[in-house]
Amino acid sequence: MSELKNILNQGPQPTEDALKRYLKGTSSEEERFTIENQMADEAFMNDAIEGLQEFKDQNHVQDYVNKINKELNKHTFKKKRRKLNNLIEDKNWTLVTVVLIIILCILGYFVINLTMQQKFHGTIEQQKK
C-alpha cells in the first residue's frame, strides 16, 4: 500500500551524472528507478534517454556535450564580458569627466580670485594716487 505513493510522486530531477551512470548501466537501484519514473512521466526524458542510448560509444557523448557548451559559451559569456568592459569603460569616462570638472572649477576659482584681487589692488593704488 505504501508503495502506491510511488505512482503519485514524480521524484526529483535526476542529475547529469546520474543520467550518465544510467546510460553506462552503473546506476544504483534508486537512481535507476528515479530516471525510469521520469521517463514514464516526461516525453523529454524518455526521448533524451532513448536518443543517448543510440550513441555508438557512450564515452563520446561527453565530448559532444563539451563541444556544444564551448560553442554556447561564445554566445553567452563573451557578451557578458563585453557588457562588463563597456560598463567599466563608461565608469572610467564618468570618473575622468568628474575630475576634469572639479579641476576646471578649482582653476576657475583661482583665476576669478586672482582677477578680483588684481582689480581690488588696482583701485586702491588709483585711489592712493
Binding site: 537501484e29 533524451a48 534517454i49 543517448l52 556544444i68 560553442e71
Partner: protein, 187 residues
C-alpha cells in the same frame, strides 16, 4: 568550478535573473543543464551523432534569440518543444520518412497535483483503481511502481517488448489518474 557555484540556483531563479539583467550569462548556465538531454532528443530524431550536435547548437541559438522576445514560463517543456520541432523540420526538409513512436501517450499533469489532505484518500482510491486496469497495464504498473523493477526486468518477466512496457506504464498511470479523479468526483 562555475558549474558548481551555480548548482543550487533553480532554473526559475536563473530565468528570472536573465529576464531582470538581460544578461546571457544566466541563460548560458541554464541551457548547459539541458545540453545532454537535448543531445539525446536530437539524436533520437536525427539518428546521426554530428547532426544531433549541430542541431543542439542551432536550438541554443534559437533559444537565445527567442527567449528575449517571448514570455516563457516552463523552460524545460519549451526547450523540448523547440528541439523536437527543429528536428522534425530538418527531417521534413530532407524528405526522410519519419518513424516516430507516436503510440506512446505521455502523462502531462503529475498525479502529485492532489493536495496532501487528499493523499490518504487518494492512496485508497488508487488501490481500488488498480484492479480496474487491464491486465498488461496492471502487471506493468505493479512491477514498476510497487516492486520497483527496471524496464528491462519487466521485459524479461512479462515477455512484452520494451516499447510495450513503457506504453503500458505510461497509459496505466494516466488511466489510474482518471479513475481516481472520477471516484473523487463521485464522493
Amino acid at each position: 568550478m562555475q558549474k558548481k557555484s551555480y548548482e543550487y540556483i533553480s532554473d526559475q531563479e536563473l530565468l528570472d535573473k536573465f529576464k531582470k539583467d538581460q544578461d546571457n550569462l544566466w541563460l548560458g548556465i541554464l541551457l548547459q543543464r539541458y545540453t545532454l538531454m537535448l543531445l539525446g532528443v536530437c539524436m533520437k530524431y536525427l539518428k546521426d551523432e554530428e547532426a544531433a550536435k549541430d542541431a543542439v547548437q542551432q536550438v541554443f541559438l534559437k533559444v537565445i534569440s527567442e527567449l528575449q522576445k517571448y514570455q516563457v514560463e516552463y523552460l524545460k517543456s519549451w526547450l523540448y518543444t523547440i528541439a523536437r520541432n527543429y528536428c522534425l523540420m530538418l527531417l521534413r526538409n530532407q524528405t526522410h520518412v519519419i518513424s516516430i513512436t507516436d503510440e506512446l501517450n505521455y502523462v502531462e499533469a503529475p498525479l502529485s497535483d492532489f493536495t496532501p489532505l487528499d493523499k490518504e484518500l487518494t492512496l485508497n482510491l488508487l488501490e481500488l483503481s488498480m484492479k480496474e486496469l487491464n491486465a498488461p497495464q496492471n502487471t506493468c504498473v505493479t512491477l514498476f511502481y510497487l516492486e520497483k523493477k527496471s524496464y528491462q526486468d519487466i521485459v524479461k518477466t512479462t515477455g512484452f517488448t520494451l516499447l510495450q512496457v513503457k506504453s503500458y506504464i505510461q497509459n496505466g498511470k494516466r488511466n489510474l489518474k482518471l479513475l481516481v479523479a472520477q471516484k473523487m468526483r463521485q464522493g
